[in-house]
């Protein structure tokens, strides 16, 4: 998604190249095309394009990818904050 860019240096995505076996699953599932496999190893080519959906980590057979997944939604985060303070469960996101 080249015409929409979000805040840089915030994504939690990381890749352990030594563990990677180059299967290419991450490259298939990434909706922002930020992972490519070159010479049997995955590369993060655009980490600021990551929206932390977690699809790559979920489909990595050797757990070489880690990311804290979630929905990038202000309403969901407000409800998390309220939950943390009051212990009450409010709305669970907006979709």
């Amino acid at each position: 998604m080249k015409n929409f860019r979000y805040i840089p240096n915030t994504a939690t995505l990381s890749l352990d190249v030594n563990t990677c076996i180059g299967c290419g699953n991450c490259q298939i599932v990434c909706p922002h095309r930020i992972l490519t496999v070159v010479e049997q190893k995955a590369n993060i080519v655009d980490s600021d394009g990551c929206m932390e959906c977690g699809a790559c980590a979920k489909n990595c057979p050797v757990e070489a990818i880690t990311v804290t997944p979630g929905v990038g939604c202000a309403a969901a985060i407000i409800s998390q904050w309220i939950n943390r303070i009051t212990g009450r469960e409010t709305i669970k996101g907006c979709c």
Binding site: A11, M51, G54, P69, A76, C95
Partner: protein, 325 residues
């Protein structure tokens, strides 16, 4: 199943987009067929949100295929995958409950690419014997995908957020906030009546109308202008994007009410509408397909303080204006 929308489908789609039937627009989970599917026909997996199901079946006009509908409690594929209802376990259960292995011989499932957030292909294969191929992001690309021997090119694998895709989200934005908006409007009339003579009904009405107008203008800016103008508004933070249209409206408002209002009241209304717009814009993050939760939390830690300050300044100025103006 039919592969063309009928009149009822069209009406129901509009009601759902507006928000009225959004949480109850479902189909019964299970196995469906389009065309005349046989043991070799592809199996396409989807959610039991009827808009998702309809998008899929209408994209399959003229194709023989099975549709396996997972129980996601009426939520679309991507959101359900993020929440864990469109999951490996759910697909494994659906395969078993529908006895899919007795219907097809190929043991392959085509899962929407955006379902990959909740579905591990390996896990499904292990537990159900069916292998998972992640299909294109959009159902409209299924025809070339199927014809091209399950090959999706880069554009089919990328999410987009075009004007049309942003426009359809606008009605729901309003549906979700109409209740708080109604409370705020009542509050605006009450606060506007506070005057040196304790409470003035004429002031409540006259000033209240403007306070309500400012609230609605802020909402319009944050929930219509921001989604439409999203790629062109300055700033990556959404709360920043929400400031600009409201500030422009605010300037216009000040010019139009030079005689009517004191500078305090004008400032109050501009601050207020800017806070509302910024907040609504920030809430739009949940509708976009490119904001990360870490990024949203990062911007909220900055934006909410600004919004609260603007809102508080607006309210205080509005309250004291009758006493000093």
């Amino acid at each position: 199943m039919a592969t063309k929308p009928d009149f009822q489908d069209r009406i129901a789609t509009i009601l759902t987009r507006v928000g009225l039937t959004r949480n109850s627009y479902r189909v019964t989970p299970g196995l469906y067929g389009v065309g005349t599917p046989d043991q070799d026909s592809p199996v396409l997996v989807t959610a039991n949100y009827k808009l998702s199901f309809d998008t899929l079946r209408f994209a399959l006009d003229g194709i023989d295929a099975w549709i396996l509908v997972a129980d996601t409690r009426g939520i679309n594929v991507w959101c359900a995958a993020g929440k864990g209802t469109f999951s490996s376990e759910e697909i494994i259960n659906s395969v078993k409950e529908t006895r899919l292995a007795e219907r097809v011989t190929h043991h392959r499932l085509i899962v929407p690419q955006l379902g990959a957030t909740g579905v591990s292909g390996l896990h499904v294969k292990k537990q159900s014997g069916f292998s998972v191929r992640f299909g294109p992001v959009r159902a409209s690309d299924l025809r070339p995908y199927l014809q091209d021997n399950y090959q999706a090119d880069e554009s089919m694998r990328s999410v987009t957020f075009k004007l049309q895709e942003r426009l359809v989200l606008i009605p729901v934005e309003f549906y979700l906030v109409w209740k708080p908006l109604a409370y705020i409007c009542v509050g605006a009339f009450l606060l506007s009546g506070i005057s040196p003579s304790l409470f003035s009904i004429s002031a409540a009405w006259q000033r209240g109308l403007f306070a309500v107008a400012a609230t609605l203008t802020g909402t319009l800016c944050g929930s219509i202008i921001v989604p439409i103008m999203l790629p062109w508004l300055p700033g990556r933070h959404f709360w920043l994007k929400g400031l600009w249209p409201a500030l422009l409206s605010g300037i216009l408002f000040v010019l139009l009410t030079l005689k009517q209002f004191s500078p305090y009241e004008q400032m109050a209304l501009v601050f207020w509408m800017t806070a509302v717009s910024s907040f609504q814009a920030m809430n739009f993050t949940g509708c976009t397909p490119y904001t990360s939760p870490s990024g949203v939390e990062y911007e909220m830690r900055r934006g909410i303080g600004v919004q609260m300050t603007l809102a508080a300044l607006g309210i205080v100025l509005w309250l004291v204006a009758p006493f000093i103006g």
